[in-house]
C-alpha cells in the first residue's frame, strides 16, 4: 500500500482555481519528484498534503496519508500528524528558523509537541537529529542561534526538525533553490541518505528538472495546476507524450546557436584588480578590519566574445562587476576598456561608461515602477553628451524595443503590465539603446523559468551576432554558462582559479575547485539528454 495517495485533488483559493484533478502517490522509501514552473501549483500540492493552506482555501478530492484521510481530519488531529507522520522542508532556509530561539530548542520542540518526554530527553533527541544531518556537537552545540549559521547549515537544521521523529513521509519544497551548487549537492545527498536509512517516502518539489531527475524514482510534471505527465524516472524521458513536457525538457538543455567569431583584440583588460572593504571593528580597541573581496584578478575579454564568470555567492563576482562598471573605485590594479581607464582619476570615465551596459538578475526590481517604458529604456542616454530628443529619441526607443521582440507601442505602458520574461527583454532594450560594445549580464537569466530562459538566451545570441556585442556573463549556474559562453573563468574567494575555453574547462577541469563545482552541478540523466537532443 502506498504511503501517500493523492487522487483527484482540486484546490480553490477564493474564486481562483489553483489545482485541478491532481493525482500522485508516494510509497515508503520512494522519491517522487514534482516538476513545474512558477505558478504550476506544485508547492500548493505540498501544502494541501500538509493541510497548511492559506485562509479561504477549499480542497476537494482525496489525500490519504498512512491511511488518514487528510481532508476530513479535524485540525487537532492534523497537528498530531504534522511533524510526526509527515515532515516538511522549505525553500528559504534564511527565514525558516525563528531568529530568537536556539537551534536545539527548535529541534527539541518537534519532540516535545508530540511526545510526553522531559525537556532534557527532548534535547538529547534534538542532538541526535542534528548529528544525523551532519551538524556535529563540537561545532554546532544546541545553544547556537540561526544567525550564526550559513544557509546550508540552516537548511540542515530545518531538515533535523522535520526528521527528528522519523516521519513516514518528508516533503521538500525547493529545498536547495536558495543554495549554492556545492551546498545543494550536499543537501541532496543528505536527503537521499535519510530516505535510505529510514525507509521514508520523499516528495521532492523543484523547478529544476536536473535536480529531480538525478534522484527521483518517479516524476510528476505539473502545469497550470494540473498534472500533465507522470511516470518512472528516468524511463519517462524517452517516452514523453505531453507537448509541454517535451518542450520543458528541450528548454532545460537548450543551447542557442552562436556563430560569432571573437576577434583577437582585448576590448576589456583587467589587470591585478584588488578591491578591499573596511569592516566595523570587532571590539572597541581593535582597529577596523579590512576584507579583500577581489584579490588581484586579471583577464582579457576579446571583442565579440562571450566570456563567463562563474562562482558561488560571496566569491567576489558582484564586486568585480561593480568595479568593471566603474561604480566603485579599486584599491589596486587597473581596468582598461578599449585602452582607456574605467576610472579617470577618482571619477568614472563617461566616455568608457557609455560603451558598457548591464542587465541585472531581478526582473521585478530592475525598474522604477513609476516610470513608463519609454522613460525607463532612455535612462542610459544620460551618459551621452547630447541627449537625443523628438523623433530621434522615438526612433531609438522603437528600435531598441523591436530588437528585443517587443512592440514599439509598449513604450506607453508601465512595467507592472509585463511578465518576468518581458521585463528582462526591456532590461536588454535599455542596455542596447546607446549601442554599447559590451553588456554585462549579472545573473540575467537566473530568476526566469526554464522556457523563458531559453528564449532570452536565444535573444542574447541573436543580438550578439547582429550588433557585434561582447558579453560578460556572470552566473552561478554552470549549465547556462556552458551553452552561452566561448570562454569561462571560475572565481573563488576573490581570485580566479581557472580560466579557459568553455568546453575544455567543463570536460577537463584542472583546478580542484572547478572539479568540485562541476561534479556538484546537477545533470540530467543520459537518457533525458539523449531524448532532448533528438527532439
Amino acid at each position: 500500500m502506498s504511503l501517500l495517495e493523492v487522487g483527484g485533488l482540486s484546490l480553490k483559493i477564493g474564486r481562483k482555481t489553483i489545482l485541478r484533478d491532481v493525482s500522485l502517490s508516494v510509497a515508503p522509501g520512494q522519491i517522487v519528484g514534482v516538476i513545474g514552473e512558477s505558478g504550476s501549483g506544485k508547492s500548493m500540492t505540498a501544502f494541501s498534503v500538509m493541510q497548511l493552506l492559506p485562509e479561504g482555501s477549499v480542497c476537494s478530492g482525496q489525500v490519504t496519508l498512512s491511511g488518514h484521510d487528510m481532508l476530513s481530519l479535524p485540525e487537532a488531529a492534523l497537528c498530531e500528524l504534522r511533524g510526526n507522520e509527515v515532515g516538511m522542508v522549505f525553500q528559504e532556509p534564511m527565514t525558516a528558523l525563528n531568529p530568537i530561539r536556539t537551534i536545539g530548542d527548535q529541534v527539541a520542540e518537534t519532540v516535545l509537541i508530540h511526545e510526553k518526554v522531559s525537556r532534557s530527553e527532548a534535547l538529547a533527541r534534538a542532538r541526535e537529529a542534528l548529528d544525523r544531518v551532519e551538524l556535529p556537537a563540537d561545532r554546532f552545540p544546541l545553544s547556537r542561534y540561526p544567525h550564526e549559521l550559513s544557509g546550508g547549515q540552516r537548511q540542515r537544521v530545518v531538515i533535523a526538525m522535520a526528521i527528528a521523529l522519523r516521519p513516514a513521509l518528508l516533503i521538500a519544497d525547493e529545498p536547495t533553490t536558495a543554495l549554492d551548487v556545492t551546498t545543494q549537492a550536499q543537501i541532496l545527498a543528505l536527503l537521499k541518505r535519510l530516505v535510505r536509512e529510514d525507509g521514508m517516502g520523499l516528495l521532492m518539489i523543484s523547478h529544476d528538472l536536473a535536480v529531480v531527475a538525478d534522484m527521483a524514482d518517479e516524476i510528476v510534471i505539473m502545469k497550470d495546476g494540473e498534472v500533465v505527465e507522470r511516470g518512472a524516472c528516468p524511463a519517462i524521458f524517452s517516452a514523453l507524450k505531453h507537448p509541454y513536457s517535451i518542450s520543458l525538457l528541450e528548454a532545460s538543455t537548450h543551447a542557442p546557436d552562436r556563430s560569432v567569431q571573437p576577434v583577437d583584440d582585448a576590448l576589456l583588460r583587467v589587470r591585478d584588480v584588488v578591491r578591499t572593504y573596511t569592516v566595523p571593528r570587532k571590539s572597541l580597541l581593535s582597529a577596523p578590519g579590512k576584507v579583500a573581496a577581489v584579490k588581484g584578478v586579471s583577464f582579457d575579454l576579446k571583442r565579440g566574445e562571450s566570456l563567463g564568470l562563474v562562482g558561488e555567492s560571496g566569491c567576489g563576482k558582484s564586486t568585480l562587476t561593480r568595479a568593471i562598471l566603474g561604480l566603485e573605485e579599486v584599491q589596486g590594479g587597473e581596468i582598461l576598456f578599449d585602452g582607456q581607464p574605467v576610472f579617470d582619476g577618482h571619477r568614472a570615465n563617461r566616455a568608457v561608461r557609455r560603451r558598457m551596459q548591464v542587465v541585472f538578475q531581478d526582473p521585478y526590481g530592475s525598474f522604477n515602477p513609476r516610470h513608463r517604458v519609454d522613460r525607463l529604456v532612455c535612462e542610459p542616454f544620460h551618459l551621452l553628451d547630447r541627449l537625443p530628443t523628438g523623433t530621434e529619441r522615438e526612433a531609438a526607443i522603437a528600435e531598441a524595443l523591436t530588437s528585443v521582440g517587443l512592440s514599439p507601442d509598449d513604450k506607453y505602458r508601465y512595467i507592472h503590465e509585463f511578465s518576468g520574461g518581458q521585463r528582462q527583454r526591456i532590461a536588454i532594450a535599455r542596455a542596447l539603446i546607446i549601442k554599447p560594445d559590451l553588456i554585462l549580464l549579472d545573473e540575467a537569466v537566473s530568476a526566469l523559468d526554464v522556457q523563458v530562459r531559453a528564449q532570452i538566451l536565444d535573444l542574447l545570441a541573436d543580438l550578439g551576432a547582429r550588433f557585434g556585442l561582447s558579453y560578460l556573463f556572470i552566473s552561478h549556474d554552470l549549465s547556462v554558462v556552458r551553452v552561452i559562453t566561448d570562454r569561462v573563468m571560475v572565481m573563488k574567494a576573490g581570485e580566479i582559479v581557472e580560466q579557459g575555453e568553455t568546453e575544455e574547462v567543463f570536460t577537463n577541469p584542472r583546478h580542484p575547485y572547478t572539479q568540485q563545482l562541476i561534479a556538484a552541478a546537477p545533470e540530467l540523466p543520459a537518457m533525458a539528454r539523449k531524448a532532448a537532443s533528438d527532439t
Partner: protein, 293 residues
Amino acid sequence: MTDLRADSLPPEGAPVRLWHRALRSRNFVIGAVLTLVFVLAALVSFVWTPFDVTGLDIANKIKPPSARNPLGTDHFGRDILSMIMVGARVSIAVAVVAVGIGMSFGVPLGLWAAARKGSLLDEVIMRGNDLVFAFPSLVIAIMITAIFGASAVNAIIAIGIFNIPVFARLTRSGALSLWQRDYILAARVAGKGSARISVEHILPNVTNLLIVQGTIQFSLGILAEAGLSYVGLGAQPPTPSWGRMLAESQTMISFAPHMALFPGLAILLTVLGLNLMGDGLRDLFDPKLRGRS
C-alpha cells in the same frame, strides 16, 4: 502608529485606477468626508458664521443647544457652533504648517542621510533626530513658550520641530530599502549622481509613505495644538481655539457640560477623519498591508 513599514512596495497601476479604488474604500471615504467637513467649516467661517464670535451677548450666556444656537452658547453668550467653525482655522493652520515644516526639513535630511549611508553625515543627522526625540514635543513647546512667549506661531514651530525627525527617519528608512533596488544600480550605471537619483527615483517612490505619515502627523498636530491651547500655550485670546474653549469650559463643567462636549467632539471627529483617511490611503497604496493596522 508613528512609524510605517518602510519597505512597502510602490503602488501598481495608473493614478486613475487608484482614485476609483479609493472611492470604494470605506475607511477612506468616511475619513475624507469628515476631514472635508471641517476644512469646509474653516473656509466658510472666513465669509460667514451664524453669529459673530468676537461680540459678547451676556443675556444669552450658557444656553444649552436650541434652535437659535444648535450647539448652545458659552459663558460670554457666544455661539459655540460659530466658535468651532472659527477654531477649525487655527487647528488646521497649525497642523498644516507643522507638517509642512516637518516635511520640508525632514525629507531632504532623510534623503541625504540615505544617500550617504554609514557616513559621518548620516550619523550626525540620525543622532540629531534622536536628540529631538529625547525632548517630548510638549517639552519643546514649553521651552519655546518659556523663551518667546505663548502664541499660535510658537506652537506651530514647536510641533513642526518635532515633525522633522519623524519625516527624516521615515524617508531615510524608505530610501535605504530603495537604494538596494537594481533600478538604482541601473541609474548609477547610466552615470547619474546620488542627488539626481534621490530626486528622480527615490523621492517619487517614498511619496506614498510620506502622504500616509503626513495625515497621521496632521492629526497628531491637531491633538497637540489642542493640548497646547488648553494649557494656554497656543493661540491667544480673542482668537477662538478648540483647546482653549475646553479650558474655559472646565470650571463650568458641572452645570454646562455642552460647553465641553462640542469642542471635544470637534477635535475627536477631525482626528478620527484624518486617521481613517490615512489608513484608507495606506491600504490603497500597499494592498499587501490591508487590514494590518
